[in-house]
């Protein structure tokens, strides 16, 4: 069963003084997130990531299409017992202590009163906030609020955890802790869906990613497969008087340090490059495939018009 199934979900907003203009926040989106996977939703600001999450959670109503979470329609309120959600830049009731806040959310989620205190303590311990449990949230730093935000998202032991920009505003240690937590949640069998524009985090954590731009799906698939689509370059390191000339003639991007030439060229030109180097008696040091990053894929996709389905 898919944890999330989205079929043509879209959202338009009326804008302008007379509300007579339509702005499409999300173009028809079809996507599925499998049970137990870590799924990343990538895109620059205004790409439609947050709109997608808000549509799934019933905060805004779709203009068209439908979606199911854990096999139930998104309008079914009971499914929310099994969902945890961390909003972007979360704000909480700052008159409460961390302990009171989590207790409040656990009550709203219908956690058994006998288990409530144990679950609250466990969630606070998990994000390293036990020592601050009785401090009012108005005295918390941004990083501490983010931790409490994560704690409230998992306090009721949900099956699906939705995180909107969970690493936003965190220092490197905080980001590392969130990454570890996401991995732990995944190891427990939970499905994690998170939006981010920090590509290295997505690359490290995600089984699959979707790339959105301007409200449109640009690509979706397994990270390695997506990267394979973008790559195809090799780096050739060599030296010799004619090396630079031989490789530049093939259109390679060259950097010269002393008499060492580092050239990056398409894989299909490798044979021709090696022939040229042999012919000019250059000394070959290494040939290495250039590994594309998710950033390369991302930058390549956000300029394209049509969605690209890869091994989805």
């Amino acid at each position: 069963m898919s944890a999330i199934e989205i079929n043509g979900l879209e959202k338009s907003y009326k804008t302008g003084f007379f509300r007579n203009k339509l702005k499409q926040g999300l173009k028809p989106l079809t996507l599925s997130v499998e049970d137990g996977e870590v799924f990343g939703c990538l895109g620059p600001n205004g790409a439609g990531k947050t709109t997608t999450l808000r549509l799934l959670l019933g905060l805004v109503f779709p203009s068209g299409g439908s979606a199911k979470i854990l096999g139930r329609d998104i309008g079914d309120i009971e499914v929310k017992r099994f969902i945890g959600f961390l909003p972007e830049q979360p704000y909480f009731y700052d008159h409460l202590t961390a302990l009171e806040l989590l207790d409040y959310y656990a009550r709203l989620s219908g956690v058994d009163p006998r288990e409530r205190r144990h679950k609250v303590d466990k969630a606070l311990a998990r994000v390293g906030m036990t020592d601050s449990a009785n401090t009012q949230l108005r005295k918390f730093s941004k990083g501490m609020l983010q931790r409490v935000g994560i704690a409230q998202a998992i306090v009721h032991d949900p099956k699906l955890v939705l995180l909107d920009e969970p690493m936003s505003g965190l220092d490197p240690i905080g980001r590392r802790e969130v990454r570890d937590l996401v991995q732990e949640l995944n190891e427990e069998g939970k499905t994690v869906f998170f939006s981010t524009h920090i590509l290295s985090d997505a690359e490290t954590l995600c089984d699959r990613v979707a790339v959105l731009n301007k409200g449109e799906l640009k690509g979706v698939g397994v990270v390695a497969d997506l990267l394979h689509d973008v790559t195809g370059d090799v780096e050739v390191v060599c030296s010799g008087p004619q090396a630079l000339l031989s490789l530049s003639a093939l259109g390679a991007r060259c950097h010269v340090t002393g008499d060492v030439v580092r050239a990056v060229l398409p894989e299909r030109s490798l044979d021709a490059a090696l022939d040229a180097l042999r012919k000019n008696q250059a000394r070959l040091t290494s040939v290495t495939p250039v590994r594309a990053t998710l950033e390369d894929y991302f930058l390549a996709r956000i300029g394209e018009a049509a969605p690209n389905e890869v091994n989805a």
């Binding site: 808000r54 959670l57 905060l59 909003p87 009731y93 959310y105 709203l108």
Partner: protein, 259 residues
């Protein structure tokens, strides 16, 4: 459902208390003590009347101001601060439960506030009159009507909060309270008109919440008996009117995109 409603209501109450809303009690205490001491010096017959008028009006006004200033932010502040995202997005909380919980929480705050003020008020009446008799039970009727006023104005402030900004909501709420205070006069004017104007004016006069009917401060101060029928009718009126206003609030809020 009850668990969620009570959790939201209690959180609303706790927020008001921790935001030092009950500090108004200090001001009220100073006012009532000052008035008792001052009126103790003047004529025996008048001092009691003035103290009852002043005390009950203060209980009413303090509560109305609190109801409006907190009520107008009950929903809009939660949207603006985005605190309701974590409540409505990933908890099995229906939007009507959120509205009802917030409403009950503020009514609970106002009731506690009014009851504490009432204790001080009765102490002041006892100090000035030197005794409390059965006739003073009428004062409880006036306090009950004040609580009904709070229920009504809280519902109205909450309604405005579902679709408007706090500034406009406060203007609307104070305006409707002011107009409602003259509801009986409006009905009188409507009766003097003719034809279509009469119909329109009567409709408008009956649409405005009748706060005038809930104000019996002057009667109880002068020991005029409050008929049980008025208590029943006022109770019914407030519950029906509040029900309609809350239904409208839920209707608006259920359709609102929480961007």
């Amino acid at each position: 459902m009850i668990g969620r409603l009570s959790a939201i209501a209690y959180n609303t109450y706790r927020e008001a208390v921790r935001d030092r809303v009950l500090y108004n009690l200090i001001l009220f205490a100073l006012l009532i003590v000052g008035a008792s001491v001052l009126f103790g010096q003047i004529s025996l017959d008048i001092n009691r009347i003035v103290l009852i008028n002043l005390g009950l009006t203060a209980i009413s006004m303090f509560g109305i101001v609190i109801a409006i200033f907190i009520g107008i932010g009950l929903v809009s502040k939660e949207i603006e601060k985005r605190t309701l995202y974590t409540v409505l997005a990933a908890r099995p909380v229906r939007r009507w439960e959120f509205i009802a919980g917030k409403f009950l929480g503020l009514v609970m705050t106002l009731t506690v506030n009014a009851l504490l003020m009432s204790v001080g008020f009765f102490a002041a009446v006892l100090y000035v009159s030197h005794r409390l008799g059965l006739g003073d039970l009428q004062l409880l009727t006036a306090i009950y009507f004040i609580l009904l006023e709070f229920i009504l104005i809280t519902a109205l402030a909450l309604l405005f909060s579902t679709f408007s900004t706090p500034i406009f909501s406060s203007i609307f709420a104070f305006a409707i309270f002011a107009v409602g205070t003259f509801a009986e006069d409006l009905r009188g004017f409507a009766r003097m008109a003719d034809g279509l104007t009469r119909w329109v004016m009567t409709g408008a006069a009956y649409l405005v919440p009748n706060f005038a009917a809930l104000n019996v401060i002057s009667q109880v101060a002068h020991d005029v008996k409050i008929e049980p029928r008025l208590i029943l009718l006022n109770t019914l009126y407030v519950f029906v009117y509040t029900g309609a206003v809350l239904t409208a609030s839920v209707w608006i809020f259920e359709r609102r995109n929480l961007k």
